[in-house]
Symmetry: C2
Subunit: 226 residues, 2 copies
């Protein structure tokens, strides 16, 4: 476990969920900084980019240990790698995709996943005619083979991109295959066993946040994704 | 402005961004409750569904006024309508979409938008052969007509679903047309004038959050989307 040797680190299960959410935003900004050739940063700078206070940034990072250097601040690459280790994305995560409609096809070509250490390694659909084809070099199989292939590939994360009425079936199949985390794009909630983690992607939430800002905020804060 | 008559309400521009984010989650849960026929709820119940404390829920809602009733709690429909009024989604928002690739097609069919009061009313692509066609009854125009049509339809929200190398061009066109909020699905940051609000959708963030939970959390909290 990362930083378990750091006495100032908090056990992961005690870190508030909101902090883990902001950790993703810090990671993105650090990656942008490194692209721009910036070697170091500060809680103030990082906070300003995201519309958080420097105190917030320092408090969030302190859950995981000591990262700042007196007179230097944070070393971007070191902090980026530390956060990746917390997420486990310093190693590549294989992911399975169920549903090869328009959204599924878009996800198979989505560069944002591989940039962050996730790789869709197998995709599944119920339509016979898609079985045996590939998109973006990813093999598509009939859903009948889902359990066998996913268990064999030891995939722990699955993405559901099927129509609402097929979402529960897809979720059940993934869980049977040994998946522990399910990202659900279908606009319905799926019932899953208690040990399975699931996140429902609700694209309207981003529009709601925008609608609020457009109506009520004069000067945008640094707004960011996710 | 909603609740401006409520002396206990905070001016919108002074409400922390994180509170507005959680407001979307409260809205979803209230909508699920109403679907299930639940008429009233409590900060404890709402909080438990989302993994927040009841104090957090009460504190968040208090920014906007007094919603609870002694001995009753919150009336689901009333609170839902109040939150919709805050987002402005008690009225229908017309939205423009740029980019009719796989993602764009998926978004044109995405039911989650209309469920929350957003309606894609016009879509644009650079490919001549798509102009004049419709998807899900939404007209697709050549991008040359973007400015004229969006200004005429007085659309204030735009969605970018074009390849990365076309994202800045699409953003500039939307801004020229009078759009004030831009939802960007292209995995690049676009430069926009200071008065424009923008949110970048980073689908990998959800996977990061899942990866963290799968590795470090034994019993999932109520996890949720967005």
């Amino acid at each position: 476990m990362p930083f378990s040797d750091d006495p100032s680190a908090t056990p992961f299960e005690q870190v508030p969920k909101a902090v883990i959410g902001r950790l993703s935003l810090y990671l993105r900004e650090l990656q942008y900084m490194l692209k721009r050739g910036e070697k170091t940063t500060s809680s103030t700078h990082l906070g300003r980019l995201l519309g958080f206070s420097d105190t917030q940034v320092r408090k969030d990072l302190a859950y995981f240990g000591q990262f700042g250097y007196p007179g230097i601040g944070y070393r971007c690459e070191e902090l980026m790698n530390a956060i990746k280790t917390i997420f486990g994305t310093h190693q590549r995560w294989p992911v399975a995709l169920v549903g090869i409609g328009n959204l599924g096809r878009a996800l198979l070509r989505y560069k944002g996943f591989s940039q962050q250490g996730f790789e869709i390694v197998s995709a599944f659909d119920i339509r016979e005619e898609l079985a045996g084809t590939t998109i973006n070099e990813i093999s598509i199989y009939h859903v009948d083979f889902l359990q066998k292939i996913i268990s064999k590939q030891q995939i722990k994360l699955g993405i559901i991109a099927v129509p609402s009425n097929a979402a529960q079936f897809a979720a059940d199949q993934l869980v049977e295959a040994g998946v522990l985390g399910v990202l659900n794009f279908a606009p319905v909630t799926v019932a899953l066993p208690p040990h399975i983690h699931t996140v429902g992607v609700d694209l309207a939430i981003e529009l709601e946040q925008l609608a609020f800002s457009v109506q009520h905020l004069q000067t945008p804060e640094a707004e960011t994704g996710g």
